[in-house]
Symmetry: D2
Subunit: 350 residues, 4 copies
């Protein structure tokens, strides 16, 4: 009953197998091996165009270095107020990019386009005192389990283009959003106006595989130096490449995401049907937020269930009662139906 | 015949096996799992005292974050002029620590104590204009294959203590130096005055396992925040822990280093006996520098041998002739005797 | 009719005279002259305790370097959402301190204590992911012309102490607030819990005189290096000292602030009595915010009046009508009663 | 007998007078006044082309922000090993630019072209590990009183252009070099290949007037934001402009520099004729380095003379004997012939 986070899971057997194979070979270091090259080519295919790809160690690194590559002195980047880059990365995006992250409100973890426009308007391009609007970053799927529709992405991208701002997408849970929308990687990114993507594999079956993807390779010009100076260039880079090779082969990544999402569906259905719990707000993807009695939460934890309390957001549809608790439940490629059912049983038992 | 670098090797089977086992489990993320805790305990045993241990993604990160934890505004860190932190990390140590790296000359990659004193004297503690001496970093084994003796470490440490400066050791090839000296980890570090260590596992059989070790845990107070802000906190941190578990078990790490060094001995012996090559300078550990005819180098490469040219150092004992080439040969846990012999045959064939 | 800002004024004759005298002498550079020492002693007297004083070039520098001296990796500083450090310094405080500025709401430019507590609670001391609460900065007088009472300062300081956070005060208009409260410098700062002060002289009659004042000199330990590395150590530092000497002599600074405030009183009284204008919100000190018809504003500008439009704040008591304009009027030591009256006449004329 | 530094002098009466006049006016802040504009135009005339000019507080700021505007991630800037940017600015250039300063040897404070080439060769444009050559900075007049001839400037600039590197000139003593060479400002800068200049007025009669001058305004695109974020945008900027106005009027600046140099000539002549002192090395401009008996130095100091000891450079033509002292003597616009003669008398008296 591990629902604390999708990064509590291990790694998928196919990925392990590929790593094993890689471990018995010699190959060039620092991202220059043939395998590194081959995986870069694989990203071109996946995204249906020539892209520039850079492996890094963590999702925080992917976001921070992507933003660093878009940075200008006095720059301001806009992100949802509850975005990972603002609330969960200890200031790393600010540190690496030298920019400030400006919080944009919006329901269900998605930036409100009107609010976004209003924030951008405070930072015009000649605003030496205020600082200047320089980039926008959006999270897909969001921190609270929602997903921007393709039209919503297009709307944010439209605002970005209108102001001449590059658009970054934090795709720590990219695959979960993708299969939910039934879109292609291209459709959910550059075809809708995304310029740079943090492409996460770690939460979805790899043990450490994060990539920055530039849809215009020219924008990546400084990244090799930014990455090395940021201590993010792996010597045995091909072990990241190997994970991605297995991950992307025969649509494994999409299957894993579909499984995680299906497990979340099962959870949602069970909680909706439950008398002792309710969904805090509607989610898609592999995150579920529920309100359960504190006593039930204790019982669940005593029974071995793992999950995190969650801070009530500003736009909480229905407040959490004193004796209740808001919790987050995350499923992954490794979640088994019986885990879900066991958890629902514990909840039902109250 | 892979002698380009020890990071061209793969990963040792025992480490792979341990990773496989880890991949099928769920566990807490971000370095809080029981395995993470257990490995920290293991480091205590290895170093015979309570230490503070932090995993990071690369050797550059280990060096940079270690120095960042010792930093002061206007600080100057002293390192050998050919040190990795100065010549091979794209300024990452400066970037993360905000300090400048001040080059100290010395023969065979080791800081000359007299030169070190003279450099420190330029940066007294009240030198607002020049900047102030703040830390010393030494590399063991050095970039050019030499090793500081325990007495030499003690001498550098003595200078550090005398000036109130913390001493960092870049141990990317720590194990290779350790087995060469026949010392214990404690003897080669804190017992001789080292305060912080970059403990490298990647070059010696792991695929990605680097740790910062503080011998006074109080000095590590800021490191958790420095690491997270530096985007170096792995979500699936326990996969680093797992590598270290296997690496440190039953002295595997020492055996691997002994093997690599033995392969280097075999290379050295063969080159010394050769008519068509000479050792550029004496080395210990797993790095060998040789001078060979350019034509021989071409023949070797045509035969599949991998190695790098090397820039002639200032203190080159005997200059490289026009028709010759200075090359670096690095052995690893994965080097086979027949690879060495094959290479020596190619050299002999000219 | 110069009401655009108090930094549009020139310099007071007494300060000019002192600068003239200084210009004919030789003296030691970089803040080491006898005059520099004497002024530091003067600050001790003014603040009734031993303080550490550092001259810098701008108010932004004073704020940024003060915060840099309080910084920790992953640190978060709390400031009012409309504070100068957040909205008007192009990210300089973040740049120099490496901290993020977290906006705290509150009416009339003053942090709401409850909101402040709630923000701090999001960043506990072990919050590696979120970052940790590290400092609080308050502005006295505020950006919108209000003043924290001594009790209000004490309340903010109480929250700071409770959480172990140092408290900085941005005193760009320190004197204006001081004379308004009728307090002593000590009473408005360290006696109420302020730890570090940006003491501004430029807006009140100097042409360039800003100081950082530490009430616990021990907290200033790193400042000499921070200042030099920040390119803020004047070679002819004594010309700042000279300005402060004249500024602080015979309470000139308080007289100048009283004059500026009196001119603002005159403005306020005139606007309150006016049929064609209203005060946007109550202010003390030398800033007045008024709502006037757009046509009147144009007429005033045509007549030579200088002032700035102002962005409507969230807590605007009564919204600005379509045909009206919110403007800021700032008086200074150099404002003459006839300027105020002329302006009021223009407004009255509509 | 003030020979400690040219920044021990006060300010020239013409500059004081202009400041007085400025102090009685109101004018727009933050560099937007008509006077600011007029002075920018004045710089165009002085340099015979359209330039972009930015005032800052200190010479360190001018150098640091100029380099920041040229910076790239992983960038390396080349400077003479004894350059101010390396030895006397507490790491500010590294801090603001994020680049490392790479020391280039050379006799008499001037970069040796061959050594410069050799350093640049270590940092090619694709050298992710080493970092990449990004800028060159030269000092005119140098730290040790020498001056690059126009041909020598052209040679350095040639190397810069050849490698596609922008060339910065630290002109803290620009005027002293200019009058010595009898060149025009254009000839000593952009006509010989200089791209950016730190134009210093403080050491030559202003009390605080430093400017960054870009000969290609397009290169200055980011500077307004860099300057504000660096806390270097004066609110009463026009007081810097006013100093420059007086400084540049009727060639005052050149007259002042000629005077300072003439005083240095008088010193040099006296020391050369002296039995109890010798010139340490040949200098031009307003700096003189002498070797005198320690006892004489003590007597001079007892007699009220002010000067600094100097660290013996690597290329010291003739070593300093045990009982001797190497000292630096700097003259300025305010040095009087009788001060020089009095000092020479003290030296002669031994």
């Amino acid at each position: 009953m591990f629902f604390a986070s999708d990064n509590w899971a291990g790694a998928h057997p196919a990925i392990n197998e590929r790593l094993l194979k890689e471990s018995t070979r010699f190959a060039a270091a620092y991202g220059t091996s043939e395998l590194d090259r081959a995986i870069e080519q694989r990203f071109n295919e996946i995204f249906e165009r020539e892209v520039a790809v850079f492996f890094v160690a963590t999702g925080t690194a992917a976001n921070s270095l992507a933003l660093a590559s878009l940075a200008k002195p006095g720059g301001v980047t806009f992100a949802h107020s509850e975005a990972h880059v603002i609330e969960d990365e200890c200031g790393a995006p600010d540190f690496f990019s030298g920019m400030r992250m400006s919080p944009v409100p919006g329901a269900l973890g998605k930036m409100d386009p009107k609010q976004l426009r209003s924030r951008i308007a405070r930072y015009p391009q000649d605003a030496v005192h205020h600082g200047r609007a320089t980039a926008i970053t959006m999270t897909q799927a969001t921190e609270v389990g929602s997903i921007y529709s393709l039209t919503e992405i297009e709307e944010i991208a439209g605002i970005a283009k209108e102001h001449g701002l590059p658009l970054h997408m934090d795709g720590a849970r990219f695959a979960n959003a993708l299969v939910q929308l039934g879109a292609t990687p291209a459709e959910m990114t550059w075809k809708r106006g995304v310029d740079v993507l943090s492409f996460g594999g770690t939460k979805n079956g790899c043990w450490c595989a994060e990539a920055i993807v530039f849809f215009d390779p020219e924008m990546a010009r400084e990244l090799p130096f930014i990455r090395k100076r940021s201590a993010q260039l792996f010597s045995k880079s091909r072990f990241i490449a190997a994970q991605f090779e297995a991950y992307l082969q025969d649509n494994l990544w999409l299957d894993l995401a579909r499984h995680a999402n299906a497990m979340a569906d099962r959870l949602r259905a069970g909680l909706e049907a439950s008398n002792s719990a309710r969904l805090a707000w509607p989610t898609a993807s592999n995150e579920v937020f529920a309100v359960i009695p504190k006593s039930t939460a204790q019982a669940a934890e005593a029974g071995g269930a793992k999950f995190y309390d969650w801070l009530e957001p500003h736009d909480m549809p229905e407040p959490v009662a004193e004796h209740d608790l808001l919790i987050r439940l995350v499923t992954s490629f490794a979640t088994e139906p019986q885990d879900v059912d066991a958890f629902l049983d514990v909840i039902a038992a109250g």
